[in-house]
Amino acid sequence: MTSSHGPVDSSDGRDLVIETRELTKRFPGVVAADRVSFSVRQGEIHCLLGENGAGKTTLAECLYGFYKPDSGEILYRGRRVALASPRDAIRLGIGMVHQHFVLIRPFTVIENVLLRAQTPGITLDMRRVEKDLESLCRVYGTSLDLRAQIWQLSVGEQQWVEILNAIHGGARLLILDEPTSVLTPQETEGLFQVLRRMRQSGLSIVFITHKLREVLELSDRVTVLRRGRVVDTVSTSAVTKEDLARMMVGRDVVFQVQPGEAAPGRPVLEVRDLRAFDDRGHQALQGISLSLRQNEILGVAGVSGNGQRELFETLIGIRKPSEGEVLLNGEDVTRASPRRIRQRGLAHIPADRMAQGLVLDFSVAQNLILGRQRERMYRRGPFLDQKRIEGFAKEMITAFEILTPSSRQRTRFLSGGNLQKVILARELSRKIDCLVASQPTRGLDIGVMEYVHRRLLEKRDEGVGILLISEDLEEVLALSNRVAVMFKGKIAGLFESKDIQPQEIGLLMAGMGEKVT
């Protein structure tokens, strides 16, 4: 296979199953896919590699007809196509397996396939579908209890059902979005074998991932995306994992970490062998240990889905851990209530500002005291001291440059950036020892992002210890004194700022590389 750098040459036109030219898709505030041109050849496994937010899923959803591109073209087998919905894509023979399965959990495998299938008649022809599925399983060398309900199946098996559904519906091009993020190593190996068999029988596969090992093991060619743009499309045999890591993460780190005025002091937050389950009953945290000190920002990098959410929820008291300890200023707060943890000096910035951080129908002033409504300062006897609350709100609006017509404005009408400032004002204006921030700049534009960063650094210099959990690696690298990498519920590596090598971080985030402490 020849390697191709740069724009795809169309001399292989007939050979191409699908091709995009200058495809662009915008969402409010962000360009998710920016003039993406890439193509997939007949009978190849083509990987789309990139970090979170690189644009891989957006691109795939455009290919599947779920999103309509703002500009650019999609060509299927050489012909321009306009996909109005996934049904059009399915009709063409494009199938997609999403990260979050579109399966109906209490239904059996057969029922799920039947739901999608276009069969004649009133009654369900379960036998026929069962036979079809059985033979498909035989062809690809897998076995599955077709009568099991989806929730009873392992995640790997569920995924196989999604694949079966697509193939049963006639897919010749299969798109898989981060399929191994929920699989065990053995299941991953099983999946790879199936995919190879599919390639042999003439299917073409687009495999979206952030894991380098998989790219190298599985694909024929790989397209690397970063911040919505194509970095390059290369033949897998011609690159090394270091090459890929460099392309994925980028050489430039935006700014260097500013060393704080004071050296990091005593530990404010200590986590020892923390273990916790996620909502589905799986072990999301598999023994996290870390120590957060005064005057430092400890960044937790990692691709989403590796336990960050559960870590955040456990630290703030919403989720109870199964084992381990959390010490705040030496005090055991492992099973303390959220209220108690706040009172003992831990503030937080939640990942979903609108659902978790604010009451949108409350005013700015009311949101600024959310969680502090019982404090003596805001009360006059049994009543809320409206004057003081308003006064506090006015101070905060000025101090944090919150753009709002008044403190009585309902926060529903504020922009995302201003909402985040409200949360910042609320959390940073207290006397705290420790701040846990989760995705603090998600969905914000550059100006507000820089503002948030500046305030966080200020707070650090005042002596607060900040745990920064973020999927934005650049942000983590820019702000942190130390960086921990989280992978599958464990800390895969911990670095001092001066020792940070982007490649190495990329490898750890992707599950490769050695443990460094």
Partner: protein
């Protein structure tokens, strides 16, 4: 007390009554399970039944045709439930409050209509209608013990019990049923699969209303000869509890219905025998049982996931 209750005749009587009193509960629950499987809760089931009971009575009294009465009651239930369908599915209004409003409407509305239709009467003089007569099935109804218990009831009772396997088949073995069930679990996934969520939900709600209509018909023309206000006495609510207790499965729903109906039949018998338990306690038992059943079932309860949530297609 012990021996007189256990005499064969008494047992047969109780069981036969159990089967009979199951009828409206079964209709209500079977209809409601289809509705709830599609993701909609009909809190106005009680009102639907009451409306149908009144309509059935009215038509029976005016037309002297019981068949017509039952059919109109059924249709009336379907029409009444359109209120819920329109508010909850098209307008995305809160299903629970809508249901409660429907109950109040039925309560006041049937009373109003009753008074203007029978303006000259006091409660002693309310017109009577002929009751639905039992249709003993030839041969089968003469089997000792089982005959009177199972095969000597009126048409509506037979229909109610027959509906259980029919609905089971409909829900689990037909395409439509599969689609309806998918609506209750994950309307987004169903929508992505090309199913018309709204239309199918309307169908499910109206079907539930029609079943409630049959249940209401039984409460009036199937059991007593007159109409009196609020005569459904909470059967609609019990039907909802039965659906929950039966874990939204027709087979279990049948069992739960029989449980409640047995309790009802048993307390009637106990009262008749003159046992020294105050009748109020016996009458309150179904409602207490309902709460107990709800608490006990909580751990295993597998409600349709999208029950009660409006589906907003953005």
């Amino acid at each position: 007390m012990g021996e007189s209750l256990l005499q064969a005749a008494v047992v047969i009587n109780v069981l036969a009554t159990m089967v009979r009193t199951s009828t409206p509960l079964l209709f209500g629950a079977i209809g409601e399970v289809v509705t709830e499987r599609s993701g909609v809760m009909n809190m106005g089931l009680e009102g639907t039944m009451l409306t149908a009971a009144f309509v059935g009575f009215l038509v029976a009294e005016r037309s002297h045709s019981l068949l017509l009465a039952v059919v109109t009651a059924c249709l009336a239930g379907g029409l009444f439930s359109l209120i819920l369908a329109f508010m909850a599915i098209t307008l995305d209004v809160d299903q629970i409050i809508t249901g409660l409003a429907m109950n109040l409407l039925a309560s006041g509305g049937t009373l109003f209509w009753f008074r203007i239709a029978y303006t000259q009467t006091t409660s002693q003089e309310t017109p009577l209608v002929a009751l639905l007569k039992p249709w003993p099935i030839p041969l089968l109804s003469e089997i000792p013990y089982l005959g009177p218990i199972l095969f000597s009831h009126n048409a509506l009772t037979y229909l109610a019990f027959l509906l259980v396997p029919v609905i089971w088949f409909g829900l689990y073995r037909t395409k439509r049923g599969l689609q309806i069930r998918s609506l209750g679990e994950d309307p987004r996934a169903a929508d992505m699969g090309g199913i018309n969520v709204r239309r199918l939900r309307y169908l499910a709600v109206v079907f539930g209303g029609m079943m409630a209509g049959l249940g209401g018909a039984f409460v009036s023309v199937g059991s007593v000869e007159r109409f009196f206000p609020d005569m459904t006495a909470g059967r609609g609510w019990l039907a909802i509890v039965i659906v929950i207790a039966g874990n939204w499965k027709p087979g279990r729903i049948l069992l739960a219905t029989l449980l409640f109906a047995f309790l009802d039949a048993f307390q009637l018998q106990v009262q008749g025998v003159g046992v020294q338990i105050p009748y109020q306690i016996l009458l309150a038992l179904p409602y207490v049982l309902a709460i107990v059943v709800l608490i006990a079932g909580r751990a295993r309860s597998i409600a349709p996931e999208s029950l009660g949530l409006p589906y907003l297609r953005e």
